[in-house]
């Protein structure tokens, strides 16, 4: 089906048809590109491996291109449009001054191979961001090469491996709680380790006895996030760290939930040895529809030598130079990591300063606690410990009573103007709804969100069918995910072979 033309009918504002793809909009001879004529004499170079024809890209005019992507933007929710209480993801408001910073030509148009002498400004930004990050996490030094949290995890695990290798005890197991994020076990495998799962106890925390049972001399270390994925502070954290340290294992902090504890308690002070931070969560760099992020890894003193490098380091004369850690695990990114994300994060850190960063923790917890209080009567909170910046509620009772599941509740929220929460994670809670309002939402927004959740429960009792079909006010309704996976259509070339 070719449907060219720049109708606006795909915008939610004025209609509901699907937006054609660029290929549908393409017509031979249309053109958006514009380049000066070649200003050197054109020579016949007779190069090998030349293609007969250019690639089969669409041909569209600038006008149609702009309309297409503008309409697609109108089919997408973002933090700028409203609250996004997606648990574990810390979808807070991203200040516009950080956009300004990342657009500065001095950063944006800089080639990564320009030598340190010519790039002192951005190196200073990295050094400053490293200092603040280490102060907040209680670590000694950090590398900004890892471009996301998962890359940080892999990096941390490779540091663990290098540590044990150097000690002459290569080990094989890494312990992770059953409630951990999927990237944790996946990183463990990628790093060549075996993932050993440890269950949570009735309080939603690591079961200390179970932990003791799995930890031995073959344990390279433990990965943990605290507050954990249930939004609870692991109260026995020091005992846990001690158990691992007793076998000379290392304790890894998955920093996805750092938001809750900024300036309150530090991973380093709790006994962690390696910490990754998600700048795209805690430090307000926008998530970009799935990325880019930045997952710097910070370590305690004795692990500095293993960090990926080189790392910008102030030399005696004040100039910043690139320094390679003595026993570096090697490179984990093609260049220096997602540097412009670091610039955004630094802008945010400098704006907030110490007091502002502490307020982040306070108010993210305040908002979560408040939301939990407001919805707790309707959606059971499976654990009794007070939540931190997020909490997991269960729709299990609602399901028993009405057949309405956590997924249905989530799908109904957009009709009330909110993004959905995370559902069915962590796996230890049935019909889990994981809610994280973040500190940038006002009390009234939290109240409106609570009201919507309570109303949905009412509707579930009165008209469950309506909720089965929710959402009703979005550009598309529920999609056939099973069909998509059964006969995948991943590119428009595959459409043709359908």
């Amino acid at each position: 089906m070719r449907d060219p033309g720049a109708r606006a009918s795909s915008t939610p504002l004025v209609g509901g048809s699907a937006e054609p793809t660029l290929r549908d909009l393409s017509a031979p001879g249309r053109q958006a590109w514009s380049l000066p004529d070649l200003d050197v004499p054109r020579r016949n170079l007779d190069l090998p491996e030349m293609a007969d024809a250019p690639p089969a890209l669409p041909e569209v005019a600038e006008r149609d291109l702009v309309a297409h992507f503008t309409r697609l933007a109108h089919r997408n929710f973002g933090v700028d449009l409203g609250a996004y209480p997606l648990g574990s993801c810390t979808m807070k408001y991203n200040p516009k001054v950080c956009d300004w910073a990342a657009e500065l030509p001095g950063f944006r148009d800089l080639h990564p191979s320009a030598p340190a002498q010519l790039t002192q400004g951005i190196l200073e930004a990295v050094v400053e961001a490293e200092r603040i990050l280490c102060e907040l996490t209680g670590m000694s030094r950090a590398s900004f090469q890892p471009p996301a949290g998962a890359a940080g995890e892999l990096t941390g695990l490779l540091i663990m491996r290098a540590y044990h290798q150097e000690k002459g005890h290569p080990r094989h197991k890494v312990v992770i709680p059953d409630a951990s994020h999927g990237t944790n076990p996946a990183s463990v495998t990628l790093a060549g380790y075996e993932a050993v799962s440890v269950p949570s106890n009735a309080k939603g925390m690591v079961d200390i006895d179970a932990l003791r049972a799995v930890v031995d001399e073959d344990t390279a270390g433990l990965m943990l996030t605290n507050p954990n994925t249930l939004g609870l502070f692991e109260e026995d954290i020091e005992v846990i760290a001690q158990i691992i340290h007793e076998v000379d294992g290392l304790v890894y902090y998955d920093g996805a939930n750092l938001n809750a504890i900024l300036g309150v308690v530090r991973p380093g002070d709790m006994g962690f040895d390696i910490v990754h931070s998600n700048l795209h969560k805690t430090f307000a760099t926008p998530h970009g529809g799935g990325g880019p992020g930045s997952g710097p890894v910070a370590v305690v003193e004795r692990l500095i030598q293993y960090l990926p490098g080189p790392i910008p380091t102030p030399a005696g004369d004040g100039a910043i130079v690139w320094e390679q850690p003595a026993a570096s695990i090697g490179r984990v990114h093609g260049n220096h990591g997602n540097m412009l994300v670091v610039v955004r994060a630094l802008t945010y850190m400098l704006a907030l300063g110490g007091p502002g960063l502490e307020r982040v923790a306070q108010r993210s917890v305040l908002n979560a606690r408040y939301l939990e209080h407001l919805v707790g009567k309707e959606y059971a909170i499976p654990y009794t410990a007070p939540c931190m910046h997020e909490f997991v509620a269960s729709a299990e009772n609602l399901k028993k009573e009405t057949g309405i599941r956590a997924m249905d509740v989530a799908k109904a929220l957009p009709d009330y103007g909110f993004h959905a929460p995370t559902v069915y994670f962590p796996l230890v809670v049935d019909e889990a709804l994981m809610l994280e309002p973040t500190e940038t939402e006002s009390p009234e927004t939290v109240e409106a969100l609570a009201k919507a959740l309570l109303e949905i429960a009412d509707v579930a009792r009165q008209d469950p069918e309506y909720l089965h079909d929710a959402p009703h006010h979005t550009p598309v309704s529920r999609l056939d995910d099973a069909g998509a996976a059964r006969s995948p259509v991943l590119t428009w070339f595959m459409e043709d072979s359908q």
Partner: protein
Amino acid sequence: MDFTPHSDADVTRMLGILSLERPEDLFSHIPEHARLDGALDLPTPLSEPEVMARIGGMSARNTAGLTCFAGGGIYDHYLPPVVRALTMRPEFVTSYTPYQSEVSQGVLQVLYEFQSMVAAITGLPIANASLYDGPTAGLEAVNLAVAATRRSEVWVSRGLNPHTREVIETFAHARDLTVIEHPIVGGRTAWAHDAPGEPAAMVFGQPNYLGVIEDYDEAVALAHDKGALAIAAVDPIMLGTLRSPGAAGCDVAFAEGQPLGNPMSFGGPVVGLFAVTEKLMRRVPGRLSGRTVDRFGRTGYTLTLRTREQDIRREKASSNICTNQTLNAVAAAIHLSWLGPNGIRETANQSIQKAHYLAKRIEQIKAVHIGVDSAFAREFPVLLPLDPDEVVLAMAERGYLAGIPLPHHYPDLPGGLLVAVTEQRTKEDLDGYATALEEVIADA
């Protein structure tokens, strides 16, 4: 500055409802001795104009204004304002990974189109929704090959980007993989055809790091002969005119996608492109956006083949990647649709023509030589009679970022400087560069 909306009165009211007195009470369940008692050594808050002065000052202390002849994967191509304007739409910038498809059709459809256009330029039918960058995409390619072949040896060309080789090394070390490097001779990979071993993959750059165009048929035939996957690292702009890896029979192609829609950004955020044959579809790392229908039969898009991914498959996932480089992929998709078939070809051809014009100019400088004797595309090594690190600093004073010094990675090219040219370099830039280089060498 503060980006929390709460007034003091708000906080008091909320605490009251929660039966708490002071904000600190929110943390009273955290073991007291773990809690911080003294203030940390953190900066004092700044107002917005102060932050801007501070960060603006840092930006100004970088020489981004130099006329750029550095490449090595990151190129100074023309980036149209329209691409930037559309990419920075807040709906794209401030959304999360599109799990909730009903309110994420925008990002999902752009990713579907991105996948389609990456497939178009690589000539391979399946592409994913982005990886971190070119080198880490190389790691994923090797990981895929290792899993697909159940072998543990990897052959790489020394012409493969050294940073990609380093990333593969970092990973190989942890996984006890053997990496065998094959030399380059005269600029091209001299594959050791009868080397022993059972490689999972043969990985090479096309063009390679020195800018030279490799022989596709030789590499692909050898790889398949050995039962290995043929994996090409490509330059996306050069695909405007070069044969695609798919057409050449490669199994996997990956690329540093920065030249498509993304500023150089000091090397990140950029974007890794990744494409494979249909056979390898279920081994692809990272996200895939797929086309489907909603309950009214309307076309829609959704993340699909999710059972490959970490959040479903955990330790058995095909990769650990979660957050990727979506916004950079959005930029690439918009730029590719701006370029179209003819724009990308013209960009490629102009870059190549200008590179060869510059090479001819440089060859005329005394004591300077072109460091390869094979056909190159838009980038080439220059052999200088001086330390290339020093030359780069001297050229910077004359307004040029002269290139990438090669000796760090290729000690066998002691005076080597890798020079890259894009369509943005005018004849005046090229002539000026040659003149400046001549002066620098004469001054030494």
